[in-house]
């Protein structure tokens, strides 16, 4: 594969080889076919299977029952096979490119480390919990174990965001629809589990006068986040910290956001994070969370969606997804002092939105 500067798609440099770009284009096309055409057939097929196996409606949400019926079925087994293959091919193509041109990409990251606006502050003494070390989405090395996890994640999620990634379109939409404190004052914003900082950047654009912090456990993700913020001339501070130990002053934050963070942490950490956010928010401050459905909403999912959620946990490195989805997240938020509600998703296809306000 040739490696050259091929210009940009929106805010994002094009992949540096036409073949790799085409491979990733195939992966996106295949995924879109899989979740539309293939899944629409499988949904009908799965309902039929449950009928033929005599599974009563009250057991159709029990993942152990669903597994017994679905796993031996050739069509559903094929669905799992092609999904994981598609996922693995995506990572393999990117890992090959970044691995073979390692020096170039490392130099590119290093060139931005000390530049402003904004900053990236890594903490070599941070004790990274084991729960963070999984290969989430089977991304090789996960978020913490690969120097290129940031750039890998960015291009790897193109197939997930279906055309809303190159210019951070999806994250800009999230930021525009972020909850505000009742008094409207937003001078300090924290993006927890910020990853490559797409939401942090969008929040800075939405609240240009506010101080915006992006916190994450993964140093490589933060370095890439900072590089992107510098390229966009946005003053965002990225810090390598745990969401359950932000080291921020009590009552100092107006708006905290966590986008798809909670299903990546165990229940104990989820509770610790909620307690920590309650501490750092000022009275009247708001915690805006986008994450998977939990509690009664999760229980109401159709059978194949319930099975797919389990499969995501089992095979796609989503170690804590089932634990989170089987919890009652609104109840957890309320239990630490928030006034929490479940809101509709901010987009047609994304997860629900939890809004938690600190009384004040």
């Amino acid at each position: 594969m040739v490696d050259i500067d091929r210009g940009s798609n929106g805010r994002t440099p094009r992949l540096r080889s036409l073949d790799l770009e085409s491979q990733q284009d195939f992966i996106r096309g295949f995924r879109e076919w899989m979740v539309t055409d293939m899944d629409s057939e499988i949904r009908v097929h799965s309902e039929d299977l449950l009928r033929r196996h005599g599974v009563p409606a009250e057991q159709a949400g029990d993942v152990d029952v669903l597994r017994k019926v679905f796993e031996p079925d050739p069509l559903i087994a094929s669905r799992l096979r092609v999904w994981i293959t598609n996922q693995r091919q995506m990572w393999a193509g990117l890992a090959d490119q970044f691995g073979r041109h390692r020096a170039h990409y490392l130099a590119e990251l290093a060139a931005f480390d000390a530049k402003g606006p904004g900053s990236v502050e890594l903490d070599p003494d941070l004790v990274i919990p084991d729960y963070c070390r999984h290969e989430i989405h089977i991304q090789p090395g996960g978020y913490v174990g690969d120097e290129f996890s940031g750039v890998m994640y960015h291009y790897g999620t193109n197939s997930f965001y279906m055309g809303q990634n190159d210019s951070d379109e999806f994250h800009i939409m999230l930021a525009k629809r972020a909850a505000r404190p009742a008094d409207g004052k937003v001078s300090k914003v924290v993006d927890l589990g910020c990853g490559i900082g797409q939401l942090s950047i969008a929040l800075k654009e939405q609240f240009p006068e506010a101080e915006v912090l992006g916190l994450d456990v993964a140093g490589p993700m933060l370095r890439y986040a900072h590089k992107r913020a510098v390229e966009l001339n946005l003053d965002v501070r990225f810090q390598q910290r745990l969401a359950e130990d932000t080291r921020l002053e009590s009552g100092s934050v107006d708006l905290a956001c966590a986008y798809i963070l909670f299903h990546e942490v165990p229940a104990t950490a989820a509770r610790d994070i909620c307690v920590e956010v309650f501490r750092i928010l000022r009275p009247g401050g708001v915690f805006d969370i986008t994450d998977f459905a939990t509690g009664a909403q999760k229980a109401a999912a159709p059978p194949f969606a319930t099975f797919r959620s389990w499969a995501d946990h089992q095979y796609n490195g989503e170690r804590w997804r089932e634990e989170f989805c089987n919890s009652d997240f609104v109840a957890l938020l309320n239990s630490v002092g928030f006034d929490a509600t479940l809101q509709p998703s901010k987009s047609a296809w994304m997860s629900p939105n939890y809004i938690a306000r600190k009384p004040g």
């Binding site: 290093a110 502050e121 089977i138 913490v144 120097e147 140093g219």
Partner: protein, 137 residues
């Protein structure tokens, strides 16, 4: 580039996704992988041809006869053989994979003693040094 800038200063839990088996026979899993990889390779080629034809047409070059009648040089032939062999490895690697217990790998990754791997694309541990603050990294 100074490797001391590296920040992936931890190991990770390998989920062994290359060993998953979903179908009755791991060889059938491998065949499905082959089919999808072939689709990918076919689309990569077709997309390149689409680009090529558009560029040639835009450049005023009448391409079709020249393409049909082109005789590869010795250098062309060697380079294309290397490309072909690379494609063979990429498409058919799954067929050469030993059938292993993928479910065991996935289960093992969830346990406290999950096998860990050193960081990818990183420097040896002794060479890593990360300073705090933007100016130091």
């Amino acid at each position: 580039m100074d490797d001391a800038h590296l920040s992936a200063a931890t190991d990770y839990i390998d989920h062994g996704s290359d060993t998953y088996t979903f179908l009755k026979d791991p060889v059938v899993d491998a065949l499905v992988e082959v089919v999808i990889e072939l689709g990918s390779q076919a689309w990569i080629t077709r997309r390149r041809l689409l680009v090529l034809e558009r560029v040639m047409a835009a450049s005023g070059i009448l391409a079709s006869e020249a393409i049909e009648t082109y005789v590869p040089t010795a250098e062309d032939a060697a380079a294309w053989r290397a490309e072909r062999d690379k494609m063979m490895r990429s498409v058919y690697a799954a067929l050469a994979r030993r059938p292993t217990a993928g479910a065991e790998a996935a289960e093992r990754a969830k346990t406290p003693d999950a096998p860990k791997k050193p960081p990818r694309n990183s420097a040896p541990a002794g060479e890593r040094a990360i300073a705090k603050g933007a100016s130091g990294i």
